[in-house]
């Protein structure tokens, strides 16, 4: 309104470009989510573990060094399950394939769903821990009082950095909600909670 014709055109052009940049940045924010995942998986940032099973690579076992692999399992609120591991830690050579059994027990009488979320420390080891078969992130269903044993087959890559001597693999059990979502009182407003 305050501008003459050529100014009007200029303003319109500026606005169109700005809005385009704006939408681009909004989309970029969402694109950052998968990009971050890719970035994490490439760099092992944050101990975030690649959840797809890998084929065994038959490479020469590096007999010269032993790596201690620790396993820790943790429960969480809202899931009456227990997760245990047959051995707390094992020593393996890089390149060697190893297997360890994890047991899930449902302590309640009702069936329920859960999921074990893995995390690796130190994070620089993440990309060198290759899981050949794994239950990570997969939903598990247990009937009331059911007990289930699943193996984890893994291999440490031979190019594991020299300075790493201990790797800790932690699984945290989380409940999977199969009931209808009740967003507004999912925190603490509901009266029936202690």
């Amino acid at each position: 309104m305050a501008a003459d014709g050529s100014q009007q055109a200029g303003v319109r052009r500026t606005v169109i470009r700005s809005v385009a940049a704006l939408l681009g940045m909004f989309a970029f924010a969402f694109a950052l989510v998968p990009l971050y995942d890719v970035f994490c998986q490439v760099t092992g940032l944050n101990g975030k573990v690649d959840t797809t099973a890998k084929a065994i690579i038959h490479e020469e076992v590096d007999q010269s060094r032993f790596i201690t692999v620790q396993f820790i399992t943790r429960g969480s609120a809202g899931l009456p399950w227990q997760m245990s591991v047959e051995t707390r830690q094992m020593r393996v050579h890089p390149g060697q394939t190893a297997e360890v059994d994890f047991t899930f027990t449902n302590n309640s009488h009702q069936e329920s769903w859960g999921r074990a979320v893995p995390s690796v420390s130190p994070s620089s080891a993440t990309t060198h821990l290759r899981k050949v078969s794994c239950f990570c992130f997969q939903e598990q269903q247990l009937q009331g009082d059911e007990r289930l044993t699943i193996p984890l087959v893994f291999q440490l890559a031979k190019d594991l950095p020299e300075e790493i001597s201990t790797i800790t693999l932690v699984y945290t059990l989380y409940p999977v909600q199969r009931i209808a979502l009740n967003p507004l009182n999912n925190n603490n407003a509901a009266g029936d909670k202690i």
């Binding site: 009456p80 800790t168 932690v170 029936d192 909670k193 202690i194």
Partner: protein, 371 residues
């Protein structure tokens, strides 16, 4: 309440602060090599800033004084000078590079948690810390032990007000201890200034840190990341011991755990359960459900007069053992032992007018947990 003259006294005492709290004006030097390195970096960068500040502000105040309009100063007209500009860009860069080198070295050292002698898992929970000595079968939670009366000003505050816990983390000196850190609910941050360890605990993820303490002593810290209502009330106390003393402590701790486990097998009287339950309630539950079970609705439901709690024993047990997903109520299955759970459930079912007369035996709880 303080009287006005007491305020006056406090204000005047500020003048003598430097005497009274000489050590609390600055970052502690700490008791680890890392903390000493960090202190060194801190003081170096501080003095660099002071020197730059003296030069810049010196020139500035000189100009303000010397070139006052009221004194008839005539303004010069210059407005650029390339070589001066290059100089004041280059010098800071050199100073920064000089700072970056030692900082990098310290950081690399802080990131090397390998070759540890002892592994401890630290778990943040709203609003307490849980310590697990991996491979030693020792695990316990550490709660604020400052009383409600002190916080509310109803009794004298002691020396370690808000910085005291029921069970400190016990560590040996001269040994490299690796911390694995995670959280059960929101992000917390485990911080002890004198150890120079501050690390976020993140739900579902694991962080690593380490410490090697040089001197025995008691070191205090606090949660550093806003984690909800009682963020200000989850302190950390580390008790660092000589190695031999630590070994003894470890043994005693294991024996005590066995003793407690044996308690599961016998029948407990209601008075015993009530007494034990009150202890547990006050240290664990009262931060949310309040001292008299009145709760703080809607966030924290009342327990006193709670119909569902009174009528449904099974539901009540389930809440305590398994927690409530997505709410502040944690699962105490792994945190408390069966005796403690039985005691606290019995207590809450019989205190503050909840006169159900129920007793829950540790054996029942153990069975429910283990099946």
């Amino acid at each position: 309440m303080r009287l006005p003259w007491q305020w006056l006294l406090t204000i005047t005492s500020v003048a003598s602060l430097s005497q009274a709290h000489a050590s609390s004006w600055n970052m502690p030097v700490g008791v680890t090599d890392t903390s000493r390195n960090i202190f060194g970096l801190h003081m170096t960068i501080f003095w660099v800033c002071v020197v730059i500040g003296v030069i810049v502000f010196g020139v500035m105040f000189y100009s303000l004084f010397r070139y006052r309009h009221s004194k008839g100063a005539k303004a010069a007209r210059f407005h650029e000078h390339t070589s001066v500009e290059v100089l004041w860009t280059a010098i800071p860069i050199l100073i920064l590079v000089g700072m970056a080198v030692p900082a990098t070295a310290t950081l690399k050292n802080m990131y090397d948690a390998s070759e540890a002698d002892l592994d401890i898992m630290i778990t943040g929970q709203q609003w307490r810390w849980r310590y697990e000595y991996l491979g030693e079968d020792i695990a316990y939670t550490s709660n604020l032990s400052t009383t409600r009366e002190q916080i509310r000003g109803e009794s004298e505050r002691d020396e370690h007000y808000l910085l005291d816990v029921d069970e400190p983390l016990v560590l040996p000196i001269n040994r490299k201890v690796r911390f694995l850190m995670t959280s059960d609910d929101v992000i917390h941050s485990w911080w002890v200034p004198e150890l120079a360890v501050k690390q976020d605990t993140i739900p579902g993820f694991i962080n690593e840190n380490w410490v090697q303490i040089n001197e025995p002593g008691i070191y205090r810290g606090q949660c550093a990341e806003l984690c909800g209502v009682n963020h200000g009330f989850m302190p950390i106390v580390v008790h660092a011991m000589e190695e031999a003393e630590f070994e003894t402590w470890l043994e005693e701790r294991k024996e005590a755990a066995e003793q407690e486990a044996m308690g599961v097998d016998r029948e407990w009287a209601i008075e015993e359960l009530m007494a034990r339950g009150e202890e547990v309630y006050q240290s664990i539950c009262s931060s949310c459900h309040q001292g008299e079970g009145q709760g703080a609705p809607p966030a924290f439901p009342a327990l006193a007069g709670n119909e569902q709690l009174i009528n449904e024993l099974d539901w009540h047990l389930d809440r305590v053992i398994n927690g409530v997903s997505g709410a502040a109520m944690p699962a105490f299955r792994n945190t408390l032992n069966p005796v403690e759970i039985a005691a606290v459930v019995t207590y809450t079912r019989n205190a503050w007018g909840n006169e159900t007369g129920d007793t829950v035996q540790p054996a029942t709880v153990a069975e429910r947990i283990a099946q």
